[in-house]
Protein backbone atom coordinates (compact mmCIF):
# COMPACT_ATOMS: atom_id res chain seq x y z
CA UNK A 1 0.00 0.00 0.00
CA UNK A 2 1.16 3.53 -0.72
CA UNK A 3 1.97 6.02 1.99
CA UNK A 4 1.65 9.53 0.63
CA UNK A 5 3.08 11.20 3.71
CA UNK A 6 6.32 12.91 2.85
CA UNK A 7 7.21 14.06 6.36
CA UNK A 8 9.37 11.41 7.94
CA UNK A 9 8.43 12.39 11.50
CA UNK A 10 6.22 9.67 12.96
CA UNK A 11 2.65 10.59 13.80
CA UNK A 12 2.87 8.80 17.15
CA UNK A 13 5.75 7.70 19.27
CA UNK A 14 4.92 6.02 22.57
CA UNK A 15 7.66 4.96 24.94
CA UNK A 16 7.11 2.44 27.76
CA UNK A 17 3.53 3.46 28.48
CA UNK A 18 2.15 2.00 31.70
CA UNK A 19 -1.25 2.58 33.24
CA UNK A 20 -2.07 1.46 36.77
CA UNK A 21 -5.50 1.89 38.35
CA UNK A 22 -5.87 1.91 42.14
CA UNK A 23 -3.09 1.08 44.58
CA UNK A 24 -2.06 -1.57 47.08
CA UNK A 25 -4.41 -4.55 47.12
CA UNK A 26 -6.71 -2.93 44.58
CA UNK A 27 -3.97 -2.15 42.09
CA UNK A 28 -4.76 -3.14 38.50
CA UNK A 29 -2.17 -2.83 35.75
CA UNK A 30 -4.17 -2.05 32.62
CA UNK A 31 -1.19 -1.38 30.36
CA UNK A 32 2.46 -2.25 30.91
CA UNK A 33 5.54 -0.97 29.15
CA UNK A 34 3.94 -0.41 25.74
CA UNK A 35 6.05 1.25 23.08
CA UNK A 36 5.03 1.84 19.49
CA UNK A 37 5.48 4.11 16.51
CA UNK A 38 2.91 4.94 13.85
CA UNK A 39 3.92 6.76 10.71
CA UNK A 40 1.92 9.52 9.06
CA UNK A 41 -0.59 8.19 6.56
CA UNK A 42 -0.46 4.74 8.15
CA UNK A 43 -3.61 2.82 9.11
CA UNK A 44 -3.04 0.58 12.12
CA UNK A 45 -5.42 -1.91 13.69
CA UNK A 46 -5.15 -2.63 17.38
CA UNK A 47 -6.49 -6.07 18.20
CA UNK A 48 -6.91 -8.06 21.35
CA UNK A 49 -9.44 -9.60 23.70
CA UNK A 50 -11.56 -7.54 26.07
CA UNK A 51 -9.49 -6.20 28.95
CA UNK A 52 -6.27 -6.45 26.96
CA UNK A 53 -5.66 -2.71 27.37
CA UNK A 54 -6.50 -1.56 23.83
CA UNK A 55 -8.81 1.25 24.87
CA UNK A 56 -6.41 2.25 27.65
CA UNK A 57 -3.64 2.63 25.10
CA UNK A 58 -5.92 4.50 22.68
CA UNK A 59 -7.18 6.95 25.32
CA UNK A 60 -3.65 7.49 26.60
CA UNK A 61 -2.47 8.40 23.13
CA UNK A 62 -5.65 10.45 22.72
CA UNK A 63 -4.64 12.50 25.79
CA UNK A 64 -7.86 11.82 27.65
CA UNK A 65 -6.55 9.19 30.06
CA UNK A 66 -2.96 9.95 31.03
CA UNK A 67 -0.56 7.06 31.56
CA UNK A 68 0.99 6.40 34.95
CA UNK A 69 4.42 6.15 33.36
CA UNK A 70 5.95 6.55 29.94
CA UNK A 71 6.23 9.22 27.30
CA UNK A 72 4.03 10.22 24.37
CA UNK A 73 5.24 12.19 21.35
CA UNK A 74 2.76 13.21 18.68
CA UNK A 75 3.96 14.68 15.38
CA UNK A 76 7.40 15.11 16.88
CA UNK A 77 6.12 17.11 19.83
CA UNK A 78 6.42 15.60 23.33
CA UNK A 79 2.96 15.89 24.90
CA UNK A 80 2.92 13.64 27.98
CA UNK A 81 5.61 12.60 30.41
CA UNK A 82 3.94 10.03 32.65
CA UNK A 83 0.76 11.79 33.87
CA UNK A 84 2.26 15.25 33.38
CA UNK A 85 0.99 17.21 30.40
CA UNK A 86 3.69 19.02 28.45
CA UNK A 87 1.20 20.97 26.33
CA UNK A 88 -2.31 22.37 26.72
CA UNK A 89 -4.04 19.04 26.17
CA UNK A 90 -7.39 20.44 25.16
CA UNK A 91 -5.87 22.77 22.59
CA UNK A 92 -3.63 19.97 21.33
CA UNK A 93 -6.60 17.61 20.91
CA UNK A 94 -8.49 20.36 19.14
CA UNK A 95 -5.71 20.97 16.62
CA UNK A 96 -4.12 17.57 16.10
CA UNK A 97 -6.47 14.73 17.05
CA UNK A 98 -9.69 13.29 15.76
CA UNK A 99 -11.81 10.75 17.63
CA UNK A 100 -14.35 8.18 16.51
CA UNK A 101 -16.08 5.78 18.87
CA UNK A 102 -18.37 2.79 18.76
CA UNK A 103 -21.27 5.18 19.13
CA UNK A 104 -21.17 8.17 16.84
CA UNK A 105 -21.64 10.49 19.85
CA UNK A 106 -23.13 13.19 17.69
CA UNK A 107 -24.52 16.16 19.58
CA UNK A 108 -28.27 15.55 19.41
CA UNK A 109 -29.35 19.17 19.13
CA UNK A 110 -27.11 19.86 16.13
CA UNK A 111 -27.87 18.62 12.65
CA UNK A 112 -25.28 16.68 10.64
CA UNK A 113 -23.53 19.67 9.11
CA UNK A 114 -23.54 21.55 12.41
CA UNK A 115 -21.99 18.54 14.16
CA UNK A 116 -19.05 18.81 11.79
CA UNK A 117 -19.04 22.59 11.73
CA UNK A 118 -18.85 22.89 15.53
CA UNK A 119 -15.51 21.06 15.61
CA UNK A 120 -14.03 23.69 13.33
CA UNK A 121 -15.62 26.65 15.08
CA UNK A 122 -14.17 25.35 18.34
CA UNK A 123 -10.84 25.56 16.54
CA UNK A 124 -11.50 29.23 15.72
CA UNK A 125 -12.50 28.80 12.08
CA UNK A 126 -14.98 31.42 10.86
CA UNK A 127 -18.56 30.06 10.83
CA UNK A 128 -19.11 30.54 7.09
CA UNK A 129 -15.85 28.82 6.14
CA UNK A 130 -16.50 26.08 8.70
CA UNK A 131 -19.91 25.39 7.24
CA UNK A 132 -18.55 25.27 3.72
CA UNK A 133 -15.84 22.81 4.71
CA UNK A 134 -18.33 20.75 6.75
CA UNK A 135 -20.53 20.40 3.67
CA UNK A 136 -17.53 19.37 1.61
CA UNK A 137 -16.59 16.72 4.17
CA UNK A 138 -20.12 15.35 4.27
CA UNK A 139 -20.05 15.22 0.50
CA UNK A 140 -16.69 13.44 0.59
CA UNK A 141 -18.19 10.87 2.98
CA UNK A 142 -21.38 10.48 0.96
CA UNK A 143 -23.88 11.97 3.41
CA UNK A 144 -24.26 15.47 2.00
CA UNK A 145 -27.92 14.80 1.31
CA UNK A 146 -28.51 14.37 5.07
CA UNK A 147 -26.66 17.55 6.05
CA UNK A 148 -29.69 19.20 7.62
CA UNK A 149 -30.97 16.15 9.45
CA UNK A 150 -30.68 15.78 13.20
CA UNK A 151 -28.79 12.66 14.37
CA UNK A 152 -32.08 10.98 15.34
CA UNK A 153 -33.08 11.00 11.69
CA UNK A 154 -29.86 9.33 10.49
CA UNK A 155 -29.12 5.62 10.28
CA UNK A 156 -26.24 4.16 12.32
CA UNK A 157 -23.98 4.13 9.27
CA UNK A 158 -24.84 7.69 8.37
CA UNK A 159 -24.21 8.82 11.93
CA UNK A 160 -20.83 7.13 11.91
CA UNK A 161 -19.93 8.84 8.62
CA UNK A 162 -20.85 12.19 10.13
CA UNK A 163 -18.65 11.30 13.12
CA UNK A 164 -15.80 10.52 10.73
CA UNK A 165 -16.37 13.86 9.00
CA UNK A 166 -16.22 15.57 12.39
CA UNK A 167 -13.00 13.75 13.24
CA UNK A 168 -11.50 14.94 9.95
CA UNK A 169 -12.75 18.48 10.30
CA UNK A 170 -9.59 20.09 11.64
CA UNK A 171 -7.28 18.01 9.41
CA UNK A 172 -5.81 16.11 12.37
CA UNK A 173 -2.46 14.42 12.12
CA UNK A 174 -3.85 11.48 14.09
CA UNK A 175 -7.28 9.84 14.09
CA UNK A 176 -8.12 7.46 16.92
CA UNK A 177 -11.06 5.11 16.55
CA UNK A 178 -12.36 2.79 19.25
CA UNK A 179 -14.42 -0.04 17.75
CA UNK A 180 -16.05 2.29 15.23
CA UNK A 181 -17.86 -0.50 13.37
CA UNK A 182 -19.22 -2.44 16.33
CA UNK A 183 -22.70 -1.01 15.88
CA UNK A 184 -22.74 -1.50 12.11
CA UNK A 185 -23.45 -4.46 9.88
CA UNK A 186 -20.48 -6.05 8.17
CA UNK A 187 -21.05 -4.20 4.90
CA UNK A 188 -21.29 -0.82 6.57
CA UNK A 189 -18.41 -1.75 8.86
CA UNK A 190 -16.16 -2.47 5.96
CA UNK A 191 -17.19 0.75 4.25
CA UNK A 192 -16.11 2.71 7.34
CA UNK A 193 -12.78 0.86 7.57
CA UNK A 194 -12.11 1.57 3.90
CA UNK A 195 -12.97 5.14 4.55
CA UNK A 196 -10.22 5.30 7.18
CA UNK A 197 -7.72 3.96 4.70
CA UNK A 198 -8.87 6.46 2.09
CA UNK A 199 -8.55 9.32 4.56
CA UNK A 200 -5.12 8.21 5.76
CA UNK A 201 -3.73 7.72 2.31
CA UNK A 202 -5.29 10.78 0.70
CA UNK A 203 -4.88 13.21 3.57
CA UNK A 204 -1.80 11.92 5.28
CA UNK A 205 -3.37 11.40 8.70
CA UNK A 206 -2.32 8.41 10.79
CA UNK A 207 -5.28 6.26 11.81
CA UNK A 208 -5.25 3.90 14.77
CA UNK A 209 -8.31 1.69 15.10
CA UNK A 210 -9.23 -0.59 17.99
CA UNK A 211 -11.32 -3.37 16.48
CA UNK A 212 -12.60 -6.88 17.01
CA UNK A 213 -13.64 -7.17 13.40
CA UNK A 214 -11.13 -9.55 11.82
CA UNK A 215 -12.97 -9.52 8.48
CA UNK A 216 -11.65 -6.09 7.54
CA UNK A 217 -8.03 -6.54 8.61
CA UNK A 218 -6.87 -6.46 5.01
CA UNK A 219 -7.76 -2.78 4.97
CA UNK A 220 -5.00 -1.93 7.47
CA UNK A 221 -1.35 -1.28 6.77
CA UNK A 222 -0.34 -2.92 10.00
CA UNK A 223 -1.90 -4.84 12.86
CA UNK A 224 -0.88 -4.63 16.49
CA UNK A 225 -2.14 -7.12 19.01
CA UNK A 226 -2.42 -6.61 22.74
CA UNK A 227 -2.83 -9.08 25.54
CA UNK A 228 -2.76 -8.54 29.30
CA UNK A 229 -1.86 -4.90 28.89
CA UNK A 230 1.12 -5.52 26.65
CA UNK A 231 1.77 -5.56 22.94
CA UNK A 232 2.34 -9.13 21.86
CA UNK A 233 5.86 -10.27 21.13
CA UNK A 234 7.29 -8.19 23.95
CA UNK A 235 5.50 -5.01 22.85
CA UNK A 236 7.05 -5.23 19.44
CA UNK A 237 5.11 -4.13 16.42
CA UNK A 238 4.08 -6.83 14.01
CA UNK A 239 3.03 -6.87 10.38
CA UNK A 240 0.05 -9.09 9.55
Amino acid sequence: MTNVATDKTPAIEAFSLTKVYGSGNTEVVAMKDVSLTVARGEVVALLGPSGAGKSTLLTAIGLINPPTAGRIVIGGQPVMEADRALVDLRAFRRQHLGFIFQKANLIPFLNAVENVQVAMEINDMAPRAARQRALELLDYLGVADRANNLPDALSGGQQQRVAVARALANQPSLILADEPTAALDSHRGRQVMELFRKVAHERGSAVMVVTHDHRSLDVFDRTLEMEDGQLKNGSKESKP
Binding site: R93, R94, F99, F109, V118, A119, P127
Partner: protein
Amino acid sequence: MNLAVRDIRHNLARFALTTVGIGLLLMIVMGMGGIYRGLIHEATLLVDQVGADLWVVQGSTRGPFAEVSRIPAKLEDRVRAVPGVAGARRFVSHTIQREHRGQPLRMVVQGLSWPEDKGDWVPLIAGRALRQAHYELIADRLLGLPLGEKVRLGKDVYEVVGLTRGMVGSGGDGLAFFTVSDAMAVQFDVPGEATRLERASRLARLGHLDLGRVTPLLSERVVGSASELPALGPPQVSAVLVTLQDGADQARVAATLGTWPDVTVYSTQEQKDLLLSGMVDKAKRQLGLFRVLLIIISTIIMALIIYTLTLDKIHDVAMLKLMGARNTVIVGLILQQALLIGALGYGLAYWLGTFAFPKFPRLVVIETPDLLSLGAIVLGISVLSSLLGIWKAMSVEPNKVLS
Protein backbone atom coordinates in the same frame (compact mmCIF):
# COMPACT_ATOMS: atom_id res chain seq x y z
CA MET B 1 -22.75 28.86 15.96
CA ASN B 2 -24.76 29.45 19.07
CA LEU B 3 -25.00 26.13 20.88
CA ALA B 4 -27.38 27.47 23.54
CA VAL B 5 -29.98 28.53 20.97
CA ARG B 6 -29.70 25.22 19.13
CA ASP B 7 -30.15 23.25 22.33
CA ILE B 8 -33.18 25.35 23.19
CA ARG B 9 -34.59 24.80 19.70
CA HIS B 10 -34.22 21.08 20.27
CA ASN B 11 -35.94 21.23 23.69
CA LEU B 12 -38.37 24.00 22.86
CA ALA B 13 -41.39 22.76 24.82
CA ARG B 14 -39.47 22.30 28.05
CA PHE B 15 -37.72 25.60 27.63
CA ALA B 16 -41.00 27.39 26.92
CA LEU B 17 -42.71 25.88 29.97
CA THR B 18 -39.75 26.80 32.15
CA THR B 19 -39.77 30.35 30.84
CA VAL B 20 -43.50 30.69 31.42
CA GLY B 21 -43.10 29.44 35.00
CA ILE B 22 -40.24 31.81 35.71
CA GLY B 23 -42.16 34.60 33.98
CA LEU B 24 -45.18 34.08 36.24
CA LEU B 25 -42.98 34.10 39.33
CA LEU B 26 -41.26 37.27 38.18
CA MET B 27 -44.65 38.83 37.45
CA ILE B 28 -45.59 38.27 41.08
CA VAL B 29 -42.27 39.78 42.20
CA MET B 30 -42.91 42.74 39.88
CA GLY B 31 -46.49 43.02 41.14
CA MET B 32 -45.35 43.05 44.77
CA GLY B 33 -43.12 46.02 44.04
CA GLY B 34 -45.96 47.66 42.16
CA ILE B 35 -48.38 47.11 45.05
CA TYR B 36 -45.90 48.74 47.41
CA ARG B 37 -45.54 51.73 45.10
CA GLY B 38 -49.31 51.78 44.81
CA LEU B 39 -49.66 51.89 48.59
CA ILE B 40 -47.35 54.90 48.76
CA HIS B 41 -49.17 56.57 45.88
CA GLU B 42 -52.59 56.00 47.44
CA ALA B 43 -51.43 56.99 50.91
CA THR B 44 -49.98 60.29 49.79
CA LEU B 45 -52.40 61.07 46.98
CA LEU B 46 -54.86 63.08 49.05
CA VAL B 47 -52.13 64.97 50.91
CA ASP B 48 -50.61 65.90 47.57
CA GLN B 49 -53.88 66.76 45.86
CA VAL B 50 -55.45 68.79 48.63
CA GLY B 51 -52.72 71.39 48.21
CA ALA B 52 -52.30 72.62 51.78
CA ASP B 53 -49.07 74.21 53.02
CA LEU B 54 -49.67 73.33 56.67
CA TRP B 55 -51.91 70.90 58.52
CA VAL B 56 -53.24 71.98 61.91
CA VAL B 57 -54.43 68.99 63.93
CA GLN B 58 -55.40 68.13 67.50
CA GLY B 59 -52.58 68.82 69.94
CA SER B 60 -50.12 65.96 70.57
CA THR B 61 -51.66 63.79 67.85
CA ARG B 62 -50.38 62.68 64.47
CA GLY B 63 -53.72 63.10 62.76
CA PRO B 64 -55.77 63.14 60.78
CA PHE B 65 -54.57 60.01 58.85
CA ALA B 66 -52.20 58.24 61.23
CA GLU B 67 -54.57 58.69 64.18
CA VAL B 68 -57.84 60.41 65.06
CA SER B 69 -57.72 64.18 65.33
CA ARG B 70 -60.58 66.34 66.62
CA ILE B 71 -60.46 70.10 66.63
CA PRO B 72 -63.22 72.69 66.78
CA ALA B 73 -64.33 73.99 63.42
CA LYS B 74 -63.92 77.55 64.61
CA LEU B 75 -60.17 77.00 64.77
CA GLU B 76 -60.00 78.03 61.14
CA ASP B 77 -60.90 81.60 62.13
CA ARG B 78 -58.01 81.70 64.59
CA VAL B 79 -55.67 80.35 61.95
CA ARG B 80 -56.75 82.96 59.40
CA ALA B 81 -55.66 85.66 61.83
CA VAL B 82 -52.03 84.49 61.84
CA PRO B 83 -49.73 86.69 59.73
CA GLY B 84 -48.68 84.98 56.50
CA VAL B 85 -51.82 82.83 56.23
CA ALA B 86 -53.76 83.35 53.02
CA GLY B 87 -56.58 80.96 53.83
CA ALA B 88 -57.75 78.17 56.10
CA ARG B 89 -60.11 75.31 55.35
CA ARG B 90 -61.79 72.76 57.53
CA PHE B 91 -60.86 69.20 56.72
CA VAL B 92 -63.00 66.20 57.51
CA SER B 93 -62.06 62.68 56.52
CA HIS B 94 -63.40 59.35 57.67
CA THR B 95 -64.20 55.96 56.19
CA ILE B 96 -67.69 54.51 56.14
CA GLN B 97 -69.17 51.27 54.89
CA ARG B 98 -72.83 51.36 53.99
CA GLU B 99 -75.13 49.44 51.72
CA HIS B 100 -76.24 50.68 48.31
CA ARG B 101 -78.50 48.73 45.95
CA GLY B 102 -77.91 45.61 48.03
CA GLN B 103 -74.12 45.86 47.77
CA PRO B 104 -71.62 47.04 50.38
CA LEU B 105 -70.39 50.55 49.59
CA ARG B 106 -67.13 51.50 51.27
CA MET B 107 -65.85 55.03 50.83
CA VAL B 108 -63.66 57.69 52.37
CA VAL B 109 -65.92 60.65 53.15
CA GLN B 110 -63.99 63.80 52.45
CA GLY B 111 -65.33 67.16 53.64
CA LEU B 112 -64.81 70.26 51.49
CA SER B 113 -64.87 73.58 53.31
CA TRP B 114 -67.93 75.04 51.66
CA PRO B 115 -68.30 77.73 50.37
CA GLU B 116 -64.56 78.49 50.05
CA ASP B 117 -63.80 75.05 48.71
CA LYS B 118 -66.23 73.63 46.16
CA GLY B 119 -63.84 70.94 44.98
CA ASP B 120 -62.53 72.86 42.01
CA TRP B 121 -59.08 71.37 42.64
CA VAL B 122 -60.44 67.82 42.43
CA PRO B 123 -59.42 66.31 39.05
CA LEU B 124 -62.74 65.42 37.41
CA ILE B 125 -63.18 63.00 34.55
CA ALA B 126 -66.91 63.74 34.27
CA GLY B 127 -69.54 66.03 35.76
CA ARG B 128 -68.78 69.13 37.80
CA ALA B 129 -67.70 70.43 41.20
CA LEU B 130 -70.20 71.01 44.05
CA ARG B 131 -72.72 73.81 43.48
CA GLN B 132 -74.78 73.71 46.63
CA ALA B 133 -74.10 73.39 50.34
CA HIS B 134 -75.94 70.10 50.74
CA TYR B 135 -76.89 66.79 49.16
CA GLU B 136 -74.22 66.63 46.43
CA LEU B 137 -71.08 64.56 46.19
CA ILE B 138 -68.15 63.96 43.86
CA ALA B 139 -67.34 60.23 43.74
CA ASP B 140 -64.34 58.31 42.55
CA ARG B 141 -65.04 55.91 39.71
CA LEU B 142 -63.81 53.08 41.96
CA LEU B 143 -67.01 53.41 44.00
CA GLY B 144 -69.04 52.34 40.99
CA LEU B 145 -71.48 55.25 41.28
CA PRO B 146 -72.49 56.80 37.94
CA LEU B 147 -73.24 60.46 37.45
CA GLY B 148 -76.70 61.34 38.70
CA GLU B 149 -76.83 58.33 41.01
CA LYS B 150 -78.72 58.99 44.25
CA VAL B 151 -77.13 57.57 47.39
CA ARG B 152 -78.81 57.41 50.77
CA LEU B 153 -76.37 57.99 53.62
CA GLY B 154 -78.00 58.33 57.02
CA LYS B 155 -81.20 60.28 56.79
CA ASP B 156 -80.31 62.16 53.65
CA VAL B 157 -79.98 61.39 49.93
CA TYR B 158 -76.97 62.69 48.00
CA GLU B 159 -76.57 62.99 44.23
CA VAL B 160 -73.35 62.17 42.39
CA VAL B 161 -72.47 65.35 40.42
CA GLY B 162 -68.84 64.63 39.52
CA LEU B 163 -66.53 61.71 38.94
CA THR B 164 -62.82 61.29 39.56
CA ARG B 165 -60.34 58.57 38.65
CA GLY B 166 -57.67 57.17 40.97
CA MET B 167 -58.66 59.31 43.95
CA VAL B 168 -58.38 56.85 46.81
CA GLY B 169 -57.64 56.98 50.50
CA SER B 170 -54.66 55.39 52.21
CA GLY B 171 -56.64 52.16 52.57
CA GLY B 172 -57.36 52.02 48.85
CA ASP B 173 -61.05 52.96 49.23
CA GLY B 174 -62.48 55.45 46.77
CA LEU B 175 -62.91 59.04 47.90
CA ALA B 176 -66.26 60.82 48.00
CA PHE B 177 -66.22 64.61 48.38
CA PHE B 178 -69.03 66.31 50.29
CA THR B 179 -69.34 69.70 51.93
CA VAL B 180 -67.93 69.62 55.46
CA SER B 181 -71.39 69.89 57.02
CA ASP B 182 -72.68 66.98 54.93
CA ALA B 183 -69.54 64.97 55.74
CA MET B 184 -70.17 65.57 59.43
CA ALA B 185 -73.84 64.72 59.05
CA VAL B 186 -72.84 61.42 57.46
CA GLN B 187 -70.24 60.78 60.15
CA PHE B 188 -72.38 61.63 63.14
CA ASP B 189 -75.70 60.38 61.90
CA VAL B 190 -77.47 58.58 64.70
CA PRO B 191 -80.74 56.68 64.31
CA GLY B 192 -83.79 58.39 65.83
CA GLU B 193 -84.30 55.65 68.37
CA ALA B 194 -80.70 55.98 69.56
CA THR B 195 -81.20 59.72 69.96
CA ARG B 196 -84.38 59.21 71.97
CA LEU B 197 -82.70 56.66 74.22
CA GLU B 198 -79.68 58.92 74.75
CA ARG B 199 -81.93 61.85 75.72
CA ALA B 200 -83.77 59.66 78.24
CA SER B 201 -80.46 58.48 79.57
CA ARG B 202 -79.20 62.03 79.98
CA LEU B 203 -82.36 62.94 81.88
CA ALA B 204 -81.92 59.95 84.15
CA ARG B 205 -78.28 60.84 84.83
CA LEU B 206 -79.30 64.43 85.60
CA GLY B 207 -81.85 63.14 88.12
CA HIS B 208 -79.02 61.70 90.18
CA LEU B 209 -77.22 65.02 90.39
CA ASP B 210 -77.98 67.92 92.77
CA LEU B 211 -77.63 70.27 89.81
CA GLY B 212 -80.45 68.51 88.06
CA ARG B 213 -82.72 68.61 91.06
CA VAL B 214 -82.16 72.31 91.77
CA THR B 215 -82.12 73.49 88.15
CA PRO B 216 -85.39 72.35 86.52
CA LEU B 217 -84.65 74.17 83.24
CA LEU B 218 -81.55 72.07 82.73
CA SER B 219 -83.70 68.98 82.34
CA GLU B 220 -85.44 70.66 79.41
CA ARG B 221 -82.07 71.42 77.79
CA VAL B 222 -80.62 67.92 78.03
CA VAL B 223 -83.53 66.35 76.16
CA GLY B 224 -82.92 68.75 73.26
CA SER B 225 -80.45 68.49 70.37
CA ALA B 226 -76.91 67.55 71.31
CA SER B 227 -75.65 70.41 69.20
CA GLU B 228 -77.35 72.80 71.61
CA LEU B 229 -75.14 71.47 74.41
CA PRO B 230 -71.77 73.03 73.66
CA ALA B 231 -69.94 71.11 76.34
CA LEU B 232 -71.33 67.80 75.14
CA GLY B 233 -71.21 68.60 71.42
CA PRO B 234 -69.64 66.09 69.03
CA PRO B 235 -66.08 66.57 67.77
CA GLN B 236 -66.12 68.80 64.82
CA VAL B 237 -63.42 68.64 62.15
CA SER B 238 -60.31 66.49 61.66
CA ALA B 239 -57.90 69.26 60.73
CA VAL B 240 -57.59 72.78 59.43
CA LEU B 241 -55.66 73.16 56.20
CA VAL B 242 -53.57 76.27 55.89
CA THR B 243 -52.65 78.01 52.65
CA LEU B 244 -49.86 80.54 52.95
CA GLN B 245 -49.56 83.88 51.25
CA ASP B 246 -47.07 84.15 48.42
CA GLY B 247 -43.63 84.69 49.86
CA ALA B 248 -44.70 83.88 53.41
CA ASP B 249 -42.17 82.07 55.60
CA GLN B 250 -43.66 78.64 56.21
CA ALA B 251 -41.38 77.91 59.17
CA ARG B 252 -42.36 81.16 60.87
CA VAL B 253 -46.10 80.53 60.41
CA ALA B 254 -45.66 76.95 61.64
CA ALA B 255 -43.73 78.23 64.66
CA THR B 256 -46.48 80.71 65.46
CA LEU B 257 -49.18 78.04 65.22
CA GLY B 258 -46.96 75.68 67.18
CA THR B 259 -47.09 77.96 70.19
CA TRP B 260 -50.77 77.20 70.58
CA PRO B 261 -51.03 74.43 73.17
CA ASP B 262 -54.21 72.87 71.77
CA VAL B 263 -52.91 72.07 68.28
CA THR B 264 -50.00 70.46 66.47
CA VAL B 265 -48.78 71.70 63.07
CA TYR B 266 -47.35 69.61 60.27
CA SER B 267 -46.04 70.58 56.88
CA THR B 268 -47.24 68.58 53.86
CA GLN B 269 -43.96 66.65 53.78
CA GLU B 270 -44.23 65.84 57.49
CA GLN B 271 -47.79 64.69 56.95
CA LYS B 272 -46.58 62.36 54.16
CA ASP B 273 -43.73 61.09 56.33
CA LEU B 274 -46.22 60.29 59.07
CA LEU B 275 -48.29 58.31 56.61
CA LEU B 276 -45.35 56.42 55.15
CA SER B 277 -43.56 55.67 58.39
CA GLY B 278 -46.70 54.54 60.12
CA MET B 279 -49.29 53.06 57.83
CA VAL B 280 -47.15 51.98 54.88
CA ASP B 281 -43.99 50.89 56.65
CA LYS B 282 -45.24 47.49 57.81
CA ALA B 283 -46.81 46.77 54.46
CA LYS B 284 -43.51 47.75 52.84
CA ARG B 285 -41.56 45.33 55.03
CA GLN B 286 -44.11 42.56 54.50
CA LEU B 287 -44.06 43.00 50.73
CA GLY B 288 -40.29 43.33 50.76
CA LEU B 289 -39.85 40.03 52.61
CA PHE B 290 -42.29 38.36 50.28
CA ARG B 291 -40.35 39.65 47.27
CA VAL B 292 -37.09 38.37 48.71
CA LEU B 293 -38.66 34.94 49.27
CA LEU B 294 -40.02 34.86 45.72
CA ILE B 295 -36.65 35.86 44.30
CA ILE B 296 -34.96 33.08 46.29
CA ILE B 297 -37.59 30.60 45.07
CA SER B 298 -37.11 31.79 41.48
CA THR B 299 -33.35 31.37 41.81
CA ILE B 300 -33.68 27.85 43.20
CA ILE B 301 -36.16 26.82 40.50
CA MET B 302 -33.99 28.31 37.75
CA ALA B 303 -30.89 26.66 39.20
CA LEU B 304 -32.59 23.28 39.33
CA ILE B 305 -33.88 23.62 35.77
CA ILE B 306 -30.51 24.75 34.41
CA TYR B 307 -28.83 21.94 36.36
CA THR B 308 -31.27 19.40 34.92
CA LEU B 309 -30.77 20.76 31.41
CA THR B 310 -27.01 20.48 31.95
CA LEU B 311 -27.29 16.91 33.24
CA ASP B 312 -29.25 16.02 30.12
CA LYS B 313 -26.38 17.10 27.92
CA ILE B 314 -23.48 16.09 30.12
CA HIS B 315 -22.41 13.52 27.53
CA ASP B 316 -22.42 16.24 24.88
CA VAL B 317 -20.38 18.49 27.16
CA ALA B 318 -17.85 15.67 27.57
CA MET B 319 -17.78 15.27 23.77
CA LEU B 320 -17.17 18.99 23.32
CA LYS B 321 -14.31 18.79 25.81
CA LEU B 322 -12.91 15.78 23.99
CA MET B 323 -13.00 17.75 20.77
CA GLY B 324 -11.01 20.42 22.57
CA ALA B 325 -13.71 23.00 23.25
CA ARG B 326 -12.53 25.76 25.55
CA ASN B 327 -14.27 26.25 28.89
CA THR B 328 -15.76 29.49 27.58
CA VAL B 329 -17.72 27.51 24.97
CA ILE B 330 -19.21 25.25 27.65
CA VAL B 331 -19.80 28.03 30.18
CA GLY B 332 -21.37 30.09 27.39
CA LEU B 333 -23.73 27.26 26.51
CA ILE B 334 -25.10 27.06 30.06
CA LEU B 335 -24.92 30.72 30.99
CA GLN B 336 -26.62 31.88 27.80
CA GLN B 337 -29.51 29.52 28.45
CA ALA B 338 -29.88 30.81 32.01
CA LEU B 339 -29.74 34.40 30.80
CA LEU B 340 -32.23 33.66 28.05
CA ILE B 341 -34.66 32.08 30.51
CA GLY B 342 -34.22 35.08 32.81
CA ALA B 343 -34.60 37.66 30.06
CA LEU B 344 -37.60 36.01 28.42
CA GLY B 345 -39.19 35.36 31.82
CA TYR B 346 -38.71 39.02 32.69
CA GLY B 347 -40.20 40.15 29.39
CA LEU B 348 -43.11 37.78 29.82
CA ALA B 349 -43.65 39.02 33.38
CA TYR B 350 -43.82 42.61 32.15
CA TRP B 351 -46.13 41.75 29.28
CA LEU B 352 -48.50 39.69 31.43
CA GLY B 353 -48.39 42.40 34.08
CA THR B 354 -49.73 45.00 31.67
CA PHE B 355 -52.90 42.89 31.46
CA ALA B 356 -53.08 41.58 35.02
CA PHE B 357 -52.08 44.55 37.17
CA PRO B 358 -54.92 46.89 36.15
CA LYS B 359 -57.35 44.19 37.29
CA PHE B 360 -55.89 44.10 40.81
CA PRO B 361 -58.19 45.55 43.47
CA ARG B 362 -55.41 47.82 44.78
CA LEU B 363 -53.41 50.19 42.64
CA VAL B 364 -50.23 48.65 41.15
CA VAL B 365 -47.67 51.24 40.09
CA ILE B 366 -44.75 49.95 38.03
CA GLU B 367 -42.00 52.55 37.92
CA THR B 368 -38.97 52.53 35.64
CA PRO B 369 -36.38 52.45 38.47
CA ASP B 370 -38.17 49.40 39.94
CA LEU B 371 -38.15 47.71 36.53
CA LEU B 372 -34.45 48.42 36.14
CA SER B 373 -33.60 47.13 39.60
CA LEU B 374 -35.67 43.98 39.02
CA GLY B 375 -33.90 43.55 35.69
CA ALA B 376 -30.57 43.70 37.49
CA ILE B 377 -31.84 41.19 40.06
CA VAL B 378 -33.00 38.84 37.28
CA LEU B 379 -29.58 39.16 35.65
CA GLY B 380 -28.01 38.30 39.00
CA ILE B 381 -30.21 35.28 39.70
CA SER B 382 -29.72 34.04 36.12
CA VAL B 383 -25.97 34.03 36.62
CA LEU B 384 -26.31 32.57 40.11
CA SER B 385 -28.66 29.83 38.97
CA SER B 386 -26.28 28.79 36.20
CA LEU B 387 -23.38 28.26 38.60
CA LEU B 388 -24.54 24.82 39.69
CA GLY B 389 -24.86 23.65 36.09
CA ILE B 390 -21.53 25.24 35.16
CA TRP B 391 -19.85 23.54 38.10
CA LYS B 392 -21.28 20.19 36.98
CA ALA B 393 -20.18 20.74 33.38
CA MET B 394 -16.71 21.85 34.43
CA SER B 395 -16.25 18.74 36.55
CA VAL B 396 -16.99 16.37 33.65
CA GLU B 397 -13.96 14.62 32.18
CA PRO B 398 -13.71 14.14 28.41
CA ASN B 399 -13.35 10.37 28.85
CA LYS B 400 -16.98 10.37 30.08
CA VAL B 401 -17.74 10.00 26.36
CA LEU B 402 -16.43 6.45 26.58
CA SER B 403 -18.76 5.44 29.42
